[in-house]
C-alpha cells in the first residue's frame, strides 16, 4: 500500500473516530470484515493480546469484541467497572499504563467521557480501539451498521445516494456522531429527526436537513430509518414531555413501513418508544443483522489496528 494520505479513521495505530473517514477506508474495512465473516482471514490475531477495558456497562459491544478477538485467535483479557475502582479518568490512565506493561497489543476502551480513548492512546504503545466514549464516538457501531446495510441492499456501492434519516436523541448520542460521517462518506444523504431539546445547540454544524417527525422523514424520501435509543431518564421531563408524545412523532410504527424502507437501531431498543414491537419483528428491521455484523467488523478492526493484516486500500 502507499502513503497514509486520507487515512483518518486509522490514524496511526489507533482506531478512535470516524470523523473525516473516507469512502475508500470504509470500503477496505468492510471488505476485510467480509473476509472475516466467511472465515477467509484465518486467525490474524494469533499470539496477540487484546484487552477489553469497559468503564461503563455494555452487553452487546463487550460480548461482540470478546468474540471477535477470540475468533481471530487472540488472548483476551477483560476488565470492567464492576468490582473494581476504575471509574475516574485518573484510573483510566493508570489502567492503560498497567495493560501496556502487561504487553497488550490492543486495548479496547468503553468510557463515559468524550475523548477518553484518545487520552488513553497517549499513554500506551498498544493500539487503542474506541468502543464508545461519552457522547463522542462509537466507530465500530457505525461500521457494523454499514456492513449490515450493505448486505441488505446488495453491496457497499448500493449505499450511494440512498437517504437515511437519523431519529431521536442525537444530542447525547455517540452513535449519531459516528454514523453521520460514516453514512455520508458512503455516499448517503442524511437527515436528522429530533426535537430541538435532543439536538446539539449547533446542530446545523453538520449542514444536514432537520426534520420533525417520522412522517416528514418518509416525505423527504428516507430509504432507511435509523433510530436512536432514548435513555429512560430522559423520557419524561424537561427534554421530552412524555413517551406518548415522543413515540407519536419520533417513534417508528407499523404504519410507517412501506415498500423498501428499512429500520435500524443500535440497541438496546425501548420497544414502544423508538420502535413499536411489531416493527422490531418485521422484515423491515435490520436490528438483528446489525448485531450479527458486529463480530466480523470488530475482527477486521482489531486486525487492522494491531497491524496483523496488510492494508489494501486504493
Amino acid at each position: 500500500m502507499t502513503a497514509r494520505k486520507g487515512w483518518s479513521a486509522l490514524h496511526g495505530r489507533d482506531f478512535l473516530t470516524l470523523q473525516g473517514v473516507s469512502r475508500d477506508e470504509l470500503k477496505e474495512i468492510l471488505n476485510l470484515a467480509r473476509a472475516c465473516d466467511t472465515g477467509l482471514s484465518g486467525r490474524p490475531l494469533a499470539g496477540k493480546t487484546v484487552c477489553l477495558a469497559f468503564f461503563e456497562a455494555s452487553t452487546r459491544t463487550a460480548v461482540s469484541f470478546e468474540l471477535a478477538a477470540k475468533r481471530a485467535g487472540a488472548d483476551v483479557l477483560s476488565i470492567s467497572e464492576k468490582g473494581s475502582a476504575i471509574q475516574k479518568g485518573e484510573s483510566l490512565i493508570d489502567t492503560v499504563v498497567t495493560l501496556d506493561a502487561l504487553g497488550a497489543d490492543a486495548v479496547v476502551i468503553r468510557h463515559p467521557s468524550t475523548g477518553a480513548a484518545r487520552s488513553a492512546a497517549k499513554h500506551t504503545s498498544a493500539a487503542v480501539v474506541n468502543a464508545g466514549d461519552g457522547r463522542g464516538q462509537h466507530p465500530t457501531q457505525a461500521l457494523l451498521d454499514l456492513y449490515a446495510l450493505s448486505q441488505a441492499l446488495g453491496g457497499f456501492d448500493e449505499l450511494m445516494d440512498k437517504r437515511v434519516a437519523i431519529l431521536g436523541d442525537i444530542l447525547h448520542s455517540r452513535v449519531a456522531r459516528s454514523v453521520v460521517p460514516a453514512f455520508r462518506a458512503a455516499g448517503m444523504e442524511v437527515a436528522l429527526v429530533a426535537p430541538a431539546t435532543l439536538l446539539p445547540g449547533e446542530s446545523e454544524a453538520w449542514g444536514l436537513p432537520i426534520l420533525s417527525s417520522v412522517d416528514d422523514a418518509l416525505g423527504w424520501g428516507a430509504d432507511v430509518l435509523y433510530t436512536l435509543r432514548l435513555q429512560r431518564e430522559r423520557m419524561t421531563g424537561a427534554l421530552v414531555p412524555s413517551v406518548a408524545e415522543y413515540s407519536r412523532y419520533y417513534g417508528v410504527a407499523e404504519r410507517h413501513l412501506k415498500e423498501c424502507v428499512l429500520v435500524m437501531h443500535p440497541g438496546p431498543v425501548n420497544r414502544g418508544v423508538e420502535i413499536s414491537g411489531d416493527v422490531v419483528l418485521s422484515g423491515a428491521s435490520l436490528i438483528s443483522n446489525q448485531v450479527a455484523s458486529g463480530v466480523a467488523v470488530r475482527q477486521a478492526v482489531l486486525a487492522l489496528a494491531v497491524g496483523a493484516v496488510e492494508r489494501v486500500a486504493a
Binding site: 490512565i93 468524550t114 446539539p200 449547533e202
Partner: protein, 436 residues
C-alpha cells in the same frame, strides 16, 4: 539633580504611561519606594541601563488563584508571586476558593501574614462573599475587612439566587468592600465547553453562552439598583460585553468588567482536540465572541484584563475534557500573548494594552490614579518588545505548567519588574550598574 543614596535610576527606556501621558525616551528616578522624578540625565546611586526597552506602570491582576491554603503542590504565595513578577505584575488579587475557603477572618489574616513573608509582589486577598462560596449565608464582611480583606467574591461558582445576590451586594456596600462577580447560571451551565459547533461535532457536553449572559444581565440590574461597587470578571461573550456597555451608557450605577488573555486570543475550536488541558471556565467561545470581546476591550466597554491565573497539577489536566479541572496559567504569558496576538496584529494599540493591564486595574485596586507619577508608588514593568521566546514548561516559574500557550512562539517579554522601588524580577543581568 542628584538623588539620595538609595535612589535607582532607570535610564534611557521608552516610557509609556497612559495615566501621565508619557510616551517617549526619558529617565525615571525612584526613591523611598516611590517615583521621585521623570526627566533627562537623572542621577542616582544605582542605575538600570534600559536603552531599547519599554517602561510601563507595573501590571495589576485582579484575578488569580495561588492555591494557598490547600493546594500548595500547585502554587504557593511565593511561586505565584514569582510567576506574577515574571509577567510584569506588581499587584495581584488572590481569589478565595481555597481549602479552606477564605471566608473567615482568621484565614484572611493568616494569608496576609504569608504574603508578608513570601510574596514578591503586592498581594491582596479577596475573601468569600458567602460562606464556603455556597451562595447562602453571608460572610462576616466587616470582620473580614478588619482582618485585611480587600474585596469579596464567590469566584468559581457564582451566586445562583437573585435575591441572595442582591442582599450580598447591599451588605458588601455597607461593609465598604468591592464585589468581584463570576457570572454563571448553573441551570444553563451543564456542560464543560461552549455549546457550539465544535462541541456538537465532537460530542462534548456544552454550556450555552446564555449561562453567562443571563447571570451578567442579572448582576448588572442588581448593581444599578444597589449601587454596590461591582466588578464582573472574565467576560467571555460578545453579548455580555454589550450588556456591560449598555448599563454604562445609562445614568445608573454600573459595574466595571474584565476579560482574559485566553478569551481574547483562543476559540472553542480547541474543543476538537478533546484535551483536558484546554478546559476553562467560562469556556473558550467562538470567533465572533472573541472578536466582540476584543472590540469591547479596545473601546473601553470592558475596563481591563485579568488573567484568572489558575494553576493545576498535571494529573488534573491530562484527562478527557469532562474530567479535567478548568483553568489556565495566566501571569507569565499575559502581556506577551496580547502583544503578539493583538498589538502586533494592529487590533489593539500598545497604549490601550498598557492601560488595560496597568492603569485601569491599578486605578480600580488603588482607588486613585495609577501610573508613573511623581509621588506614586514605584511599581513598574520593563519590557523588551523585540525579544522572541517560546513558552515551554521549563520557562515557566509557576509550580504548575497548564498553559494553553505551551509551544507557542511569542514576541515581547518582561525583562524587569519593580515593586515599591525594588527590582524584584530581573532578566537583564549585568545591565544593572552600581553608579549612574
Amino acid at each position: 539633580m542628584t538623588g539620595t543614596p538609595d535612589d535607582l535610576v532607570i535610564r534611557g527606556s521608552h516610557v509609556l504611561d497612559p495615566t501621565s501621558g508619557l510616551n517617549g525616551t526619558t529617565d525615571v528616578r525612584l526613591s523611598d519606594g516611590r517615583i521621585a522624578e521623570v526627566g533627562e540625565n537623572l542621577q542616582g546611586t544605582r542605575r538600570v541601563d534600559a536603552d531599547g526597552l519599554y517602561l510601563f506602570p507595573g501590571f495589576v491582576d485582579v484575578h488569580a488563584h495561588w492555591r494557598t491554603p490547600g493546594r500548595e503542590d500547585e502554587e504557593t504565595i511565593a511561586s505565584g508571586s514569582e510567576a506574577a513578577a515574571a509577567g510584569g505584575f506588581a499587584s495581584v488579587v488572590m481569589m478565595p476558593n481555597t481549602d479552606p475557603v477564605a471566608d473567615r477572618p482568621v484565614v484572611v489574616s493568616g494569608l496576609l501574614r504569608r504574603v508578608e513573608e513570601e510574596s514578591r509582589v503586592r498581594a491582596y486577598v479577596s475573601a468569600a462573599l458567602h460562606e464556603g462560596l455556597k451562595g447562602e449565608r453571608l460572610t462576616e464582611m466587616r470582620l473580614l475587612r478588619e482582618a485585611g480583606a480587600f474585596c469579596v467574591s464567590d469566584d468559581g461558582l457564582g451566586t445562583q439566587s437573585t435575591g441572595v445576590l442582591r442582599n450580598a451586594m447591599l451588605y458588601a456596600k455597607s461593609a465598604g468592600l468591592p464585589v468581584i462577580l463570576h457570572c454563571e447560571d448553573h441551570t444553563l451551565a451543564t456542560g464543560v465547553v461552549h455549546d457550539g459547533v465544535a462541541a456538537a461535532l465532537a460530542g462534548v457536553p456544552g454550556s450555552p453562552a446564555s449561562a453567562e449572559d443571563v447571570a451578567t444581565a442579572m448582576a448588572l440590574v442588581l448593581t444599578a439598583e444597589t449601587g454596590a461597587k461591582v466588578h464582573i470578571t472574565h467576560v467571555s461573550t460578545a453579548l455580555s460585553a454589550a450588556l456591560v456597555g449598555f448599563f454604562k451608557d445609562l445614568s445608573v450605577a454600573s459595574a466595571t468588567a474584565d476579560t482574559t488573555p485566553h478569551h481574547l486570543t483562543l476559540t472553542d475550536e480547541l474543543v476538537a482536540t478533546l484535551q483536558g488541558l484546554y478546559r476553562v471556565n467560562p469556556p473558550l467561545r467562538p470567533e465572533e465572541d472573541r472578536l466582540g470581546v476584543g472590540d469591547a476591550l479596545a473601546s473601553g466597554i470592558l475596563d481591563f484584563v485579568a488573567t484568572d491565573h489558575a494553576p493545576h497539577a498535571t494529573e488534573e489536566k491530562e484527562l478527557p475534557l469532562e474530567e479535567a479541572a478548568p483553568g489556565y496559567l495566566g501571569h507569565e504569558t499575559a502581556f506577551s500573548v496580547l502583544y503578539t496576538e493583538l498589538v502586533q496584529q494592529e487590533k489593539l494599540p500598545l497604549s490601550r494594552l498598557v492601560e488595560a493591564m496597568a492603569s485601569a486595574p491599578g486605578r480600580w485596586v488603588r482607588g486613585a490614579a495609577y501610573g508613573i507619577l511623581p509621588g506614586a508608588p514605584a511599581d513598574l514593568a520593563l519590557m523588551d518588545l523585540s525579544e522572541e521566546w517560546t513558552v515551554r514548561r521549563d520557562t515557566l516559574v509557576s509550580r504548575s505548567s497548564n498553559s494553553p500557550y505551551l509551544g507557542q512562539r511569542l514576541k515581547g517579554r518582561v525583562v524587569g519588574t519593580v515593586v515599591g522601588g525594588e527590582l524584584i524580577y530581573n532578566r537583564m543581568g549585568a545591565k544593572v550598574g552600581a553608579r549612574a
